[in-house]
């Protein structure tokens, strides 16, 4: 039995309600203001504590940051709160304590929409494309907040991911796993973000596609966009990382450069399989 009075209590009658595509986020309410807070890295979620809705805390005093020109990688065991940490940085859940700062501004009180406008791009782990819409429409929706001409950006994305140009009139839901991830990253790049956050971009794709995606991500990073990334393939991710965070149960366990973490015997033993 659920104690939540607003749950469906096991009702599965789809002629009554449509659970598909329902949001799970408990985003920060719109209307909050950002204020100047100089210093620190380009993007930092500082000492974040919080969880979904009224549920228990998932993050405990967790800090993740990325600086200009860097790739920062978050690794850790299942259920460590890696994705939750990313969502918290993006305002998809309310923090009970801690701050999020971007480019010298405290944005903790901003809603996700406002954070997009501030230059954050986020690719979630699952359901990260609009399956019923065409590839082109997906990219258009990525650029929803922009009012200027989006065609040059779209061309750039088609240059980065040439396969998408051929499939642009196809519903994104009909594409293969790797292609879907490209659509997802492309959608996030449409706002010309100042920082890109990727939640397990290589989840569920074949090793070949994974290597290709990593190459593309490095390519994006070379254009000067800092990248904050959660990765399941810890070893491979730490190899390309300038900064690495190992989370355990919502807390920072180890922090260091990618190389340091790879060399750390403790980290190797617990998370990298020896």
């Amino acid at each position: 039995m659920s104690t939540d009075p607003y749950s469906d209590r096991g009702n599965k009658d789809l002629s009554l309600g449509n659970p598909r595509g329902m949001g799970t986020a408990t985003p920060v309410k719109p209307g909050g203001k950002a204020y100047a807070s100089a210093g620190g890295p380009f993007l930092i979620g500082e000492a974040m504590t919080g969880g979904y809705g009224n549920g228990p805390d998932i993050l405990h005093d967790c800090t993740i940051a990325v600086d200009r020109g860097e790739i920062a990688v978050i690794v850790g065991p299942n259920g460590a709160g890696k994705s939750t940490g990313m969502k918290a940085v993006f305002g998809m859940l309310n923090l009970r304590a801690g701050h999020v700062k971007l480019d010298g501004e405290d944005i903790t009180a901003l809603s996700p929409q406002d954070r997009v406008a501030k230059g954050m791009g986020f690719v979630p782990q699952t359901s990260n494309i609009f399956t019923s819409m065409t590839v082109e429409e997906n990219l258009e929706m990525g650029a929803f907040i922009r009012t200027d001409d989006i065609r040059p950006t779209m061309e750039q994305i088609y240059d980065l991911f040439p396969i998408l140009r051929d499939k642009r009139r196809q519903p994104a839901g009909e594409l293969s796993g790797g292609q879907r991830q490209q659509v997802a990253v492309g959608r996030a790049l449409m706002t010309q973000p100042k920082v890109l956050m990727l939640d397990e971009p290589t989840a569920g794709v074949s090793p070949i596609v994974m290597d290709e995606l990593f190459d593309r991500i490095i390519e994006v990073a070379r254009t000067g966009i800092p990248i904050l990334m959660v990765e399941q393939n810890a070893r491979q991710a730490l190899e390309i990382a300038d900064k690495g965070y190992v989370l355990v149960q919502g807390r920072n366990a180890y922090t260091g450069t990618g190389k340091e973490l790879l060399a750390d015997p403790e980290v190797r033993k617990s998370f990298l399989g020896g």
Partner: protein, 336 residues
Amino acid sequence: MDFLNAFIALSNFVIIPAVAYGSQLALGALGVTLIYGILRFSNFAHGDTMAFGAMVTVLVTWLFQSWGISLGPLPTALLALPFGILGCMALVLTTDRVVYRFYRAQKAKPVIFVIVSLGVTFVLNGLVRFIIGPDDQRFLDGERFIISARTFREMTGLREGLAFKTTQGITILTAVIVVALLFWFLNRTRTGKSMRAYSDNEDLALLSGINPERVVMITWLIVAGLATIAGVLYGLDKSFKPFTYFQLLLPIFASAIVGGLGNPLGAIAGGFVIAFSEVTVTYAWKKVVTYVVPESMAPDTLVQLLSTDYKLAVSFVILLIVLLVKPTGLFSGKAV
């Protein structure tokens, strides 16, 4: 045997009324399907939303009639329709603000919304009857027929007459325009696409900077427009009686589900499937059959499969068959 007269009789009693009724159902089902796709619940209050919009239109029509304003051969109600839509928009936005928004904030599951909408239904039901009364109201004026049966007979010299009522003409024309506009809006405009995106994936829409409350508001505005137009067209074609709108809920939901809930194209197709089935099953075929078969075989019964009293049962049976055989509906909606 006389196929021409048979066809005219068929058009007069089956095809034209069914197309008009189907257009009304399609408009109603479009509203239901939009709410289902975007707010993710089956809005049982839709019938009474239609009644409310139609009621405002009726009241404004009476006001215009008392001022002597008219549209000549067209019903004055068309002039009052924009005011009805505005009134209905105010109503749905108020209910959303007062009722549904609370449950959205709690992330309530769809089934909770359904029950909430049932509560809204009864409140609206009472409100409409309180304001305009439970009785039949007439508000149709202007020319009654585009072609009356008599003129048609005189024109063609045929035995059968073909009547084409003004309200039927207006219904079909309005439905075509409204549906074309809606599809253009959903598929071509930025706001329309953002509605589809929100319907597809709420969290991702949020990540793209789409404001959920704005999407919800625009959906309600469109639904209010669709509901009022459907309600007024039905009222013009038949008559305005608050309770019939509550009863219309069944064929409207049947249309939406038969076509595939959440799929606008399906809602339209479903509307016509339900309308044609209802009319053909409850029509007394004696006249048409008499024209078609040799004289010796002419039927002496009415050849009516079901009495018109069982009209609602027809949509229910079709609904059941579709749910058993093709649960996603004819056009594979997003659900069921």
